[in-house]
Symmetry: C2
């Protein structure tokens, strides 16, 4: 297995992009990444695309060759692969692309993630999202992702004394970080009272406990580490990748307050990278809901089980504290365009490790972890990235 570098990144602004099409977004992100890497289309050997539900959202199946075609690769008959793992589609696309370069199958590949959620027609996005959980045993009875995560939050509060204020402190931190990210959907800091007094979505989760629906796209370019110098002075290395799954339905799992897929995926990633949770200075974790971030920072080993809420409230996950969590603003403030989310995490981490993250730069960032979850935790993918040279 060869070592693999990220040599270019690009993303669109995330948000309600009414005037943009799915194709537009995919192309913008891809071209920005190619420009960043200083490569031409002829250098690219393959494309991997993460997308959750273009067929339901924009009536288009088979979007990998579509994006390849609209990016100008039709004439070259470029191979392209779409993967889908609900909200983890982007992270899984990255892992498949990483494997293809590490194995020597391809040299230079582009990984794209894209989702257009605003244009949805007859179905609501909430219905579509609910079907990333177990359709026959959860969604069909009316369970939405919000209500399933609300049950996890309730149980976490019951077992560990986690408070609504602690949940709200996730949103406050992520909005502050998002205010420093020009690509973020929400670029305004909020006060904790705003989160606490927000309309309820699924008790105990209010509007500010839930990531928004978003349009957006992100792309990264990978190549073998040994070739990275040809393209850039500041490559980022993919140190490892770990994936795990879990039961689809919450009621089958041994615990509601941890995600075993996160625990197992991160164990693999730490082991392969030869490091532990204390060796990363920052992480982009999957905060689809405030409780998701609290569980994630526990399951990834940054904090003891049950202490994630307190740690967040105490500022231990704020920018340039003990560990900087979701410097991009996270899914909550940067936005959550499903298939693009995991690839966008890799964009943020690359900018941080290059020292190009502007006002939200983590000092001396050397190693970072990105964590992408599908459904209510039946897919988890973790990558660990490191500063190059």
């Amino acid at each position: 297995m060869r070592e693999v570098a990220i040599i270019g990144v690009g993303e669109t602004k995330f948000g309600e992009l009414w005037e943009r099409s799915f194709r537009d977004l995919g192309i913008e992100a891809g071209f920005k990444a190619m420009e960043d890497a200083g490569i031409a289309g002829d250098d690219i050997d393959a494309m991997f695309v993460g997308n959750m539900s273009a067929d339901r959202l924009i009536d288009q199946e088979h979007i990998a060759p579509l994006i390849a075609d609209y990016s100008g690769f039709g004439e070259r008959n470029l191979p392209s692969v779409r993967v889908e793992a609900a909200n983890a589609s982007g992270g899984i696309a990255l892992s498949q692309a990483y494997m293809s370069v590490a194995s020597g199958v391809h040299d230079v590949v582009v990984v794209g993630g894209a989702e257009k959620m605003m244009d949805v027609g007859e179905e609501s996005a909430a219905e579509i999202l609910a079907s990333t959980a177990d359709q026959e045993w959860e969604a069909v009875f009316g369970a939405t992702l919000g209500s399933l995560y609300a049950m996890m939050a309730r149980r976490h509060m019951n077992d560990f004394g986690t408070t609504k204020e602690q949940l709200a402190s996730v949103a406050v931190k992520n909005h502050l970080n998002g205010s420093m990210n020009p690509d973020a959907q929400f670029q305004r800091a909020i006060k904790i009272e705003m989160a606490l007094n927000a309309p309820m979505v699924a008790d105990p989760l209010g509007v500010f406990d839930c990531a928004p629906l978003s349009d957006g796209a992100a792309a990264v370019i990978l190549c073998p580490w040994e070739d990275a110098k040809k393209y850039t002075d500041s490559p980022v290395k993919i140190l490892s990748c770990g994936q795990a799954g879990d039961y689809m339905a919450l009621h089958d799992r041994p615990s509601l307050t941890r995600m075993d897929a996160t625990i197992e995926a991160s164990k693999k990633a730490y082991k392969y990278a030869g490091i532990g949770p204390n060796d990363v200075q920052l992480a982009e974790v999957h905060d689809a809901f405030s409780i998701s971030e609290i569980m994630a920072i526990e399951d990834l080993g940054f904090f003891e089980k049950g202490k994630g809420g307190k740690a967040t409230e105490d500022g231990e996950t704020s920018l340039n504290s003990k560990i900087s969590i979701n410097t991009s603003g996270g899914l909550k403030a940067k936005g959550n365009p499903m298939g693009a989310t995991g690839v966008g995490q890799a964009v943020e981490m690359t900018l941080q490790l290059r020292g190009e993250a502007g006002d939200r730069q983590v000092k001396d960032a050397e190693k970072g972890l990105i964590h992408n979850v599908g459904g209510t935790g039946s897919t988890c993918i973790v990558h660990i990235l490191g500063r190059g040279f």
Copy 2:
């Protein structure tokens, strides 16, 4: 890169399986393949699933962990990946799984393909299939896959003198082969008059020029070649894999009478395997329409461009003739459950190379090619398999 073996195969019957659920089908195919390989669930390291559109067909996203869960892998947190490439989803799942074993990332993996098309609700399956072509430039104007392939057929007839009788001879051959395949949707031989007099779908393509809609699932188990002896006396080797893409929309392509994705994908596969088209005794090609098979046997190099129709009419593609094409019955007679189709091709080829194909056995089958196409040819994946030991 390690060499990779297929050590177990299984599939459900293909057809209108009204009494079966998607989950049922996936599990049946997977368990049959595991039983065939003589392995237990604990031996499996990962799962790859090919599926076109479970989200629109059965309202379920995120089907990879769903099938893993319902196969008993929830407790083990098995990683699973769904890929989608329209009707080539199964073939692309096989290629991703092959890469994961060849690279050393995983040892034993199961590749599943499944589709449940009969239960579709508000949308028609034809609408869903049309969105595997370019939605904004083709489907939205009313083009279905049938009408797009009809244009290819018309042009092929114009340029090369291909006749309706030659198109019909594809169906006659494939129905005869299907009559010897207990898993086939249609197990009845037909006379050419039946095909020629069938109701028109899109001129010049009648009902017998079009593969049916089907439910079904298929699975194969892969492991490193060096470990195959532990599991089986008759492993089949994956000699190579080639993938290519193309423009999404027909009007962008330089020619309507060839598929460049097939040409490029097969070139890669032949090169890597170190063989040519004359070295395979049989092939499962993607006959979604009769014209697809005629173009495929030309583009794969079995016959000169323009001679595919005549060759079929002359019986050169019949069982145990010059080259045995679609011994399973092909998509036309075996059936076409989208995500399962490409994996089912690997099942048929494995049975043939093991000498276990019963009445439809190709004599002295040593090497075979499988060819899976998405949309109107914007994705193509080719694998070449060989008899083991």
